[in-house]
């Protein structure tokens, strides 16, 4: 009984999903699978001689050049409970399905070579006579629908849950019966809840079978309780549907208003998250500068280029890992971070020893020299890697997002926030808890006195610059995940980093932190109100005015050496 019911449901999919059905021969759908089954049972038997014009069947639609025909064919194939159908759709999803140019033949071409879709026997088609089955978003959508339907009925519990959540977000009236069936057989509370959500969404979506007002109201209430943008979209569609009962539409409008109110509150949290994540990026790129500029007083205009080199190191490490141990490709960033630190520190030492050490006491000259250096580094990277972007991929564990209430938390941004916090803590520990940190602070506060106390300021200078450069390299690793990796990367960050350090107060890491977060959150708060550009301009003006009021930033560092 149950079996019949869902077969019926699948038949409904076909009827609703395909306008193609009107012209395609329906009988093939019941006959062909069994015929294929018989042939597949006897693989030794020679393949029958191909007829001059093969009769079109459910599959031949896939060989069409029209997306509507292909989509309809997918829906039709999806209703068949045969291994062929399953394999075919799987091959289509993984680009392994090829169609003959005659509009009929279909082959799967994967690691095992070519084989005919209908018979399952190996084939050797003329490569010039086949093309990959055409795929576009419409076809992909049809495929996802069919696969969700299949998963709902035959999948593992996890697959069923995934299919149910997909349905809740992309309600498809054709699957209503399937959802009902799944609800009947579900023994899992989580699945049950998701299915109910999906059902409510389906009932309210356009093209759903007419329900009585009570059911509609219940569905509206369910979506209202659920909240979120997808629920809102369904409700909005329903409220705009003029054939629906007025009472239910009013309820939908109220539900939308309620969701909007909740969304507004969540939006504040979302904005705070965006602000913090922007602030973290600013913090990361500014921290290195807070060391070189803040502690040493070197106006390092090549700081952005060190960030860029960090990003390129990530690219190289990724490429190397892919070549040597592809299995580790998920961990490239973990390897890239120390690599970038080491590479950039080494370059930092080189810069300090060969250039900056001759310019101590002449801070403005370092500006000019490092500006020249930044031009050279940019051009060098351009010569070596080319002027176009290089691709740094995001590992699986860093892609995507998860919902936290009504907020979308993107993994890469979250990781950057945590990374920035970790780097900040590490830097603090170095400065506060190590001998080097002590010496560094001593040199900052009073260089002459520190020298007299026996600190080798030259060595401290080199190490400090290396540390700052290394942190810039770490920032490069993070930036490679969200921005272009190109020779121009550094230029985009240099002004912001200087502003953060100066705004926060030179030589004070806490100030840098406070300034980065203020600028990040401020920017993200102003952006929706004024637009990105005007928001940024206003922020800059505010910072300028602030510095006029407090000439040494938010947290001025006190010390004898600082006051001139």
């Amino acid at each position: 009984m149950r079996d019949i019911r869902w077969r019926l449901a699948l038949a409904t999919i076909i009827l609703t999903a395909s306008g193609y059905m009107a012209v395609s021969p329906v009988q093939a759908q019941t006959d062909t699978p069994s015929a294929i089954q018989r042939q597949a049972d006897q693989p030794a038997a020679p393949a029958p001689v191909v007829a001059v014009t093969p009769a079109p069947d459910a599959y031949s639609g896939l060989a069409s050049t029209h997306f509507d025909v292909i989509a309809a064919s997918i829906a039709q194939i999806g209703s068949q409970e045969t291994p062929q159908a399953h394999d075919t759709l799987k091959a289509l999803a993984s680009h392994h399905l090829f169609a003959g140019n005659d509009g009929h033949a279909l082959y799967i071409h994967d690691g095992d070579g070519w084989r005919d879709v209908r018979t399952g026997i190996p084939a050797s088609p003329d490569p010039n006579q086949v093309h990959p089955v055409r795929v576009n978003n419409r076809v992909r959508l049809a495929l996802a629908e069919v696969q969700a339907g299949q998963a709902l009925v035959t999948g593992t519990p996890a697959q069923r849950l995934a299919a149910a959540s997909r349905l809740a977000e992309h309600p498809d009236p054709a699957l209503l019966l399937l959802v009902d069936h799944a609800l009947d057989t579900s023994h899992d509370a989580a699945l049950d809840a998701t299915l109910k959500r999906a059902k409510a969404a389906i009932i309210l979506s356009p093209g759903a079978p007419v329900s009585n007002p009570a059911t509609l109201l219940a569905a509206v209430a369910s979506l209202r309780a659920q909240g979120g943008l997808t629920s809102r979209a369904v409700l909005a569609g329903f409220a705009g549907n003029e054939t629906a009962p007025t009472q239910a539409r009013d309820a939908a409008r109220h539900a939308m208003a309620s969701i909007d109110r909740r969304e507004k509150i969540w939006a504040l949290g979302q904005q705070a998250f965006y602000g913090l994540s922007l602030g973290s990026v600013l913090l990361l790129v500014a921290m290195g500068l807070a060391i070189t500029f803040g502690v040493m007083g070197v106006i390092n205009m090549a700081h952005g280029e060190l960030v860029m080199l960090g990003a390129y190191t990530t690219y190289l490490v990724q490429k190397g890992v892919l070549a040597v141990a592809p299995g580790l490709s998920g961990f490239t960033l973990v390897l890239a971070a120390p690599a970038a630190f080491v590479v950039c520190s080494a370059i930092g030492v080189l810069i300090e020893r060969s250039l900056i050490r001759f310019l101590y006491g002449r801070p403005l000259e370092t500006l000019l020299a490092t500006w020249g250096l930044s031009l050279i580094i940019q051009q060098a990277v351009r010569s070596v890697f080319g002027s176009t972007n290089v691709a740094v991929s995001t590992p699986g564990w860093l892609s995507g997002a998860f919902q936290l209430g009504g907020m979308t938390i993107t993994m890469n941004r979250l990781a950057i926030m945590l990374f920035a916090a970790a780097v900040m803590v590490a830097l603090m520990l170095v400065l506060r808890r190590t001998a080097l940190g002590l010496e560094m602070r001593a040199v900052t506060q009073n260089r002459r006195m520190a020298t007299l106390m026996g600190i080798r300021t030259a060595r401290v200078d080199a190490l400090t610059f290396a540390l700052g450069s290394g942190v810039a390299g770490l920032a490069g690793v993070a930036v490679s995940q969200i921005d272009n990796v190109s020779p121009n990367l550094g230029q985009g960050y240099i002004i912001d980093s200087f502003l953060v350090v100066v705004f926060g107060g030179v030589g004070n890491l806490w100030g840098t932190l406070a300034a980065a977060m203020t600028l990040g959150i401020g920017g993200k708060t102003l952006e929706p109100l004024l637009g990105a550009v005007s928001g940024k301009i206003l922020l800059l003006v505010l910072v300028i005015v602030f510095i006029q009021r407090c000439p040494r930033g938010m947290f001025p560092l006190r010390g004898r050496g600082i006051e001139s």
Partner: protein, 374 residues
Amino acid sequence: MTAGFGFRNVPRIACMVVIVAGFLSLGSLLPDSNPLSVSPFIVTLVGKYLAYAMLAVAVDLVWGFAGILTLGHAAFFALGGYAMGMYLTREIGTRGVYGNPDLPDFMVFLSWKSLPWYWWGSNHILMAIVLVFLVPGILAGLFGWLAFRSRVSGVYLSIVTQALTYALMLAFFQNGLGFGGNNGLTDFKDILGFDLHSQTTRATMLVFSALLLAGTMIGARWLVSGRFGRLLIAVRDAESRTRFLGYRPEQVKLLVWVVSAMIAALGGALYVIQVGIINPGEFAPANSIESVIWVAVGGRGTICGAVIGAVLVNFGKTLLTAWLPEAWLYGLGLLFILTTLFLPEGLMGLGHQVMRRRAEVTPEVTQTEGDAES
């Protein structure tokens, strides 16, 4: 600051600028066959260098003599350019692509119906000249008054000036602001009814620029050499001491700052006339930094050094971008590094060194204190 090699020779170099420019202008009017004829390309190029030299003099005035390292002087240069550009845009009249007699092309394309208020009067050259000086002057005055009064100095001031030009750049990039957005103002036809593309106009503009530059150089020298000049040097080298002596350093600085901004703006106005385009790219912080580098290459605090630095660096850029299009940045970068490492006082300093380095005693303390503040 003692009267250095470059500083002493300001009148001489100013005369040279005018003579060379006059020579080139006359040459450009000769027929091609004449061995002394000068390509019009050179005339526009030199015109551009002179406009840049004007900016360099402005930077030198504040950096070399008042110790204010500005990383935002290109903002005043660009504002002056826009003020002149507005006038030149209005001069196009009905010769724009849409043939609209009142509105510039970019406003027609944005479907604006009338000129915004700040374009009022921009069709008169006098208004343009007033705006060239007034707008950057007021901005500089406001900014300087706030900054010097609260004793923002050194690196802080540099970064804030950079933020200022950056904010202006972002603002001018916006199409809604009414200055043509990213495209800026271009495709000028006439100035005061004279065809901008004619040889005579170009030659005249070159001589005119040279005269203005020479005048500016001499004026700048006059400003910094008298009693006021000595005060300025005192403020640069020991601001606190000057203050304790009863002077008001912020007023001294403000005056130089505003004058310098106006000189930069004049450079911008000359630039637009001769280059034929002004757009928000001129506000880019990189341009400001480059102008500081011209001064450093030539020699800070010498006026002549600024002019020579601006012309030489830009001449080098012109040559290298054509000859070594893929490697010229190496050359430019190296130039900056080597100059700072081996020519701390620029080319003028080199000249000075050759002349009488040993005779001079540089007080160590003054040197250090000046650097801490600059």
